[in-house]
């Protein structure tokens, strides 16, 4: 009896352990830490630079899901997972800035900024520009998986470039006002041009793969910039925003008809003919009556 109970206990324990190893669970209360180290090429610590963190996706037992702020952003979470590169991080950062999404922030002290008690998921890290350096944004997965092990404490170092005080970046994002492409007329891509006055400076192709957004980089600080879109069939473009907050190009579906640009003249002729007809008929009827009276 004792042996049987022991066997049942061992089998149950084995099954539980197997289940746990086959389906890794991420308890909702599980938290992580991301630390950001800021050092120059000579390993000198960079202090007083504000580091920002923003959660793009949350992780549960079924995978990654966009956080509320990114639900309608057009940013593809699977795209971030497949290519968590600098350009993806830049797009996410620009979206955060232009939509003023809430972020966590901390100034670097002793060359480091640490964020603890973070929810699991995908985070983007970006920093303010230093007078000497520019820190490129990047994506962090929490927990971070390496060699089959999950790490809940992630140490990271942003790519550092020398600041170019005479250059700026300009963000542009496309929005669609077409009832979620109900008419199925939305194109696969659109072409946006960055203008300085009336001169075309740079151009970019926006599509779903880049979240319908782009950042024009290396743009001279001195200039009066605006964006224009190459005409998109069935849509009209409206422009808003500025170089600081980024430009928004909203394409509104034109509908199934061109604008009605005419005065109606043809009904006048029809009404006049009908009127003349009735008058003729009336004259005839009155005439017939008179004749009948005479007789």
């Amino acid at each position: 009896m004792r042996t049987t109970l022991k066997r049942i206990f061992i089998i149950t324990l084995t099954v539980i352990l197997l289940c746990c190893s086959a389906f890794p669970c991420f308890a909702a209360e599980e938290k992580g830490i991301i630390s950001v180290t800021l050092e120059d090429k000579s390993k000198n610590k960079i202090n007083d630079v504000t580091v920002y963190l923003c959660q793009v996706a949350e992780l549960n037992n079924n995978g990654y899901y966009p956080t509320t702020a990114f639900e309608s952003s057009g940013i593809s979470i699977s795209g971030l997972i497949n290519s968590p590169d600098e350009s993806s991080a830049k797009s996410v950062t620009d979206y955060i800035k232009s939509n003023q999404i809430e972020v966590l922030s901390s100034a670097s002290k002793n060359g480091k900024a640490t964020f603890s008690d973070l929810a699991l998921g995908i985070w983007v890290v970006f920093c303010d520009q230093d007078s000497k350096y520019t820190f490129n944004p990047y994506i962090v997965f929490l927990p971070y998986e390496s060699g089959g092990k999950l790490y809940y404490e992630v140490s990271s170092v942003p790519k550092i470039e020398d600041s170019k005080p005479n250059e700026i970046s300009i963000y542009v994002v496309k929005k669609w006002d077409d009832k979620n492409n109900a008419a199925k007329k939305r194109p696969d891509s659109v072409n946006i041009e960055l203008l300085n006055g009336s001169e075309v400076v740079l151009a970019a192709k926006l599509s779903e793969s880049n979240g319908w957004s782009h950042t024009f980089t290396g743009v001279s600080k001195d200039g009066n910039y605006s964006v224009r879109e190459k005409a998109v069939a069935n849509y009209k473009a409206n422009y808003s925003g500025d170089i600081t907050n980024g430009f928004v190009v909203t394409n509104t579906y034109n509908g199934e008809k061109l604008p009605q640009t005419g005065q109606y003249w043809w009904p006048i002729i029809l009404i006049a003919i009908a009127g003349a007809g009735f008058i003729a008929l009336g004259v005839y009827e009155v005439g017939v009556k008179k004749n009948a009276k005479k007789k």
Binding site: Y235, K236, N238, L258, W265, I268, I279, E285, V288
Partner: protein
Amino acid sequence: MLKRNKGVVFLSIGCILILIACGWYVYNIVEDKNAGQYASEILNEFDEAQNEKTDKNAPIITVDGDAFCGKVIIEKLSVELPVYDEWNYTRLKSAPCRYTGSVNTNDIIIAAHNYKSHFGSLNKLIIGDKVEFIDAYGKSHLYEVCEITTLDGTAVSDMQSGGWAFTLFTCTKGGEQRVTVRCERDKTY
């Protein structure tokens, strides 16, 4: 009695219809005239605003809170009108509007009412005629008429296809179709 009344009823209906037709005709004529006067007033304000423009690099000129992207000049038709940067039906009643595109991207389409003072004589243009557009920077863009066609009111895609640098359109008298003038940049300019 009934027969006589019938005749009077017919005469009355006929007179009412003729009066409606006359009223409608007068309304159209007055609307046309007012549109011309209003456009002319806006044009003066537009010219003043362009001369006094403080931000020389702004892509639009603002007149009474409305944004204009430039003005169109068709010398042959004695037409000189400011162009609203975005279209809606209220604006179309006073001046042409940019439907889509821009002169910078070489795909601008301008829509206007078929008032005599607006684009009512667009169908009188012939291939080779010149059309000028002066943008908000004061830069002149000269175009040459290359095609005059009539599109259905539902031909939204056709209107925007073809890669034309400059397109003007207005309704036909019937209102169901659009007289469309396609232009390319004047290479002799």
